[in-house]
Structure formats: structure tokens, C-alpha cells
């Protein structure tokens, strides 16, 4: 049985083989996984918002914001011995949990989170190799750093592998 490390909202964790990084109940939040298959080291972030709307005073940089999450994980992964050219990314989450009448208030926050994650990955030059985003249901992720495979569980949905 592999060790399990839980990643909460606004958090990111980096771990090497054999660890399962888990995050539960992603709604409009996005789970971003980065992985170096050669050294079997991965990172998982659970981000809440695409980017800060204004200067956040005195705030520590956390994975609350998608744009920071990618940078933070890349920094740590490189320190752990990952090579930037080997990193690949997987995305899950970004659902619309409530009916559209509320979407305009936040401009479809789930979609914006996914878009921000794709942009951040592109900026970092990390290829997005698998994705399970959108829909109207929550997701839980289990990212096994031994294999790089992510199991996506959701209510009333078959288990998916990314």
C-alpha cells in the first residue's frame, strides 16, 4: 500500500515514488498534476481561482491561484531532480456545479479555471497529455506517482483513468 498524501483547496504537494497524491471533491476548482515519468516524481495542486484580481497584499504565494500553482510546482519539481523537458501535465475538474443562472456572476468559473491552467502550462512549455474537465459534477483524484496514472472518481460516473 502506497503512502497517501492529501492535497486541500489552495494547496499543492510534490512527492516521489511510491506515493498517491489525492484531492477530494473538486467542483469548479481544478486539479493540476505534473509528472516526470523518468524519475517518477509528481506534483498535484488544487486551485480555486484563475488569477488574482488585484494585488494581494502580504499574501503568500499559494496554489489558490492557478497561475501560481504551476510555477510553484515546477520550482519544487526541478529541485527534486525533475527535468523541465520531461514534465507532462494532466488536468481534471473545472465543473459547473450549479445551473447557468449564476454563471454570469463569475463568468463560468470552472471554465475560466481550466483556461487559466492551460495557459499557465503553455507558458511553462509543459505538454497537456490528458484531461477530464467540465460537466456538472464533482471529482476526486488519486494520482499514483509510481505510474503517473490518475484515477478520477465521480458520482454516477464510471471511474476514469488519465
Amino acid at each position: 500500500m502506497s503512502k497517501i498524501i492529501s492535497v486541500g483547496i489552495s494547496e499543492h504537494k510534490v512527492a516521489s515514488d511510491p506515493v498517491v497524491l489525492v484531492t477530494y471533491g473538486l467542483g469548479s476548482c481544478v486539479g493540476i498534476a505534473l509528472y516526470d515519468p523518468e524519475v517518477r516524481i509528481g506534483g498535484l495542486a488544487h486551485t480555486l481561482l484563475p488569477a488574482p484580481v488585484r494585488e494581494v497584499q502580504g499574501a503568500e504565494r499559494t496554489a489558490k491561484f492557478t497561475c501560481w500553482a504551476v510555477d510553484l510546482m515546477v520550482e519544487e519539481l526541478l529541485k527534486c531532480g525533475c527535468a523541465p523537458e520531461r514534465l507532462v501535465a494532466k488536468l481534471a475538474g473545472g465543473a459547473t456545479m450549479f445551473e447557468p443562472q449564476y454563471r454570469s456572476a463569475h463568468g463560468g468559473i470552472g471554465e475560466r479555471n481550466v483556461a487559466a491552467a492551460r495557459e499557465a502550462l503553455e507558458r511553462s512549455g509543459i505538454p497537456l497529455v490528458a484531461e477530464d474537465t467540465g460537466g456538472d459534477y464533482g471529482r476526486s483524484l488519486e494520482f499514483n506517482t509510481a505510474t503517473g496514472i490518475i484515477m478520477v472518481r465521480a458520482l454516477q460516473q464510471p471511474i476514469k483513468q488519465l
Partner: protein, 204 residues
């Protein structure tokens, strides 16, 4: 105002006004289902956003979440969380016996639960508004039946833009004869918190 600037006195005042609000909400719900509903004294929780799912019993717990915005002179979010069993028991009291199988809710069931949310929130906001001398109205309710983590992250978005703390006024309500329970949360936005505290005469 910043949530971390709140004193014990502020939190007490908030607890007191919520007490009156939820008492009205519980009475309204009792009348709706024809059974008495009791409630606990509200707790005021100041929690880091990342810890909020724990308050609800863990991110994967299956719940019905009914979400409304507080509109009018003060703004914020209202979230009513019903564990799955309680939601189904409530429905059996509200609707003719035609229980849905599995984990899906029918359109009629969704509509009935939204109405429950509407009645609870309206009663709460009427009482709070009367106390403040302000007008507070709920928006149209929306509903989601899913993992609690996924249901609540929506309510945290606006708070997340401003800071890392969520202020939650939590009340548990429960039926005396049968186990119907749920939680009622008010998440005021920081600006509106100032309006609420000012209106009830608390020094800031």
C-alpha cells in the same frame, strides 16, 4: 473589513443576530413539514478556506447543497447543506410517496428542496433585516447533489479573491421525531460584515 480583525465581541454579536434569524427559519421549516424542528445555538467559525471542507464533514460526503445569494443592503452567500438521508426524509414529508431510486433526484424533488432553501433563507434574512433596519433578500436558489467539497467551492470563490479566511455562521437543525438534520451557513462578504455589525450597533 478584514475577517482577522474581528474581536470576540463582534463574533458574539454576529452569533446573537444569527440566533434570531435561524429561529425564524426553523419555525418556517416546521410549519412546512408539519413536524417540529429544533436547532442549535449558532457557531461562528473563522476558518481558513482550505479547511472549510472539514467543517462539512469531509470533502467526499454526499450532500444536497442549496445555494442562494444574500442581496439587498448587505451581500454574501447562504449555503444550506443537507446530508443525503435527511434530504430524502424531508422529501418524503413534502411530496407524495414516489421515492426516487439511486442517487439521482427527480425534477420535482429538486424543485421541492429549492423551495425549502428559499423558505429557510427568506425567514432568516427577514429576521436579520428587521433587526438591522435594512432590506435583505435571497436570490433564486440553485441546487447541487454531489460531494460536499465540490458543492461548496463555489461559495468560496468570492472569499478567495479577497483573502484566505471564511467567516461562517453555522447552525445545525434537526427533527425531534425523525432524524432530519442539516446545516445553515451564512458567509457574509467582508464589506457587508461591516454593514451588519454597524447596523446592530456594534463598535468597530
Amino acid at each position: 473589513m478584514k475577517f482577522d480583525a474581528l474581536t470576540e465581541e463582534h463574533l458574539d454579536a454576529l452569533r446573537e443576530v444569527s440566533n434570531i434569524g435561524v429561529a425564524h427559519a426553523a419555525t418556517a421549516l416546521s410549519q412546512l413539514i408539519g413536524r417540529s424542528i429544533s436547532l442549535t445555538v449558532p457557531k461562528v467559525l473563522l476558518t481558513e478556506i482550505c479547511k472549510v471542507p472539514e467543517v462539512f464533514g469531509g470533502a467526499e460526503k454526499l450532500v444536497v447543497g442549496i445555494y442562494l445569494q444574500m442581496l439587498g443592503d448587505a451581500r454574501g452567500n447562504i449555503l444550506i447543506v443537507l446530508p443525503r438521508d435527511s434530504a430524502l426524509k424531508l422529501l418524503s414529508r413534502l411530496l407524495p410517496r414516489e421515492k426516487s431510486e439511486g442517487t439521482l433526484l427527480t425534477e420535482l424533488e429538486i424543485s421541492a428542496l429549492k423551495e425549502v432553501g428559499n423558505i429557510l433563507a427568506s425567514a432568516y434574512l427577514n429576521a436579520l433585516g428587521a433587526l438591522m433596519g435594512k432590506t435583505l433578500i435571497p436570490s433564486v436558489p440553485v441546487l447541487s447533489f454531489d460531494m460536499v467539497g465540490a458543492v461548496i467551492d463555489y461559495a468560496l470563490i468570492e472569499l478567495g479573491e479577497i483573502g484566505d479566511l471564511a467567516l461562517m455562521v453555522e447552525t445545525d437543525f434537526f427533527g425531534e421525531e425523525e432524524k432530519i438534520n442539516g446545516q445553515f451557513f451564512l458567509l457574509p462578504d467582508p464589506e457587508s460584515l461591516k454593514i451588519i455589525l454597524n447596523a446592530i450597533g456594534v463598535k468597530l
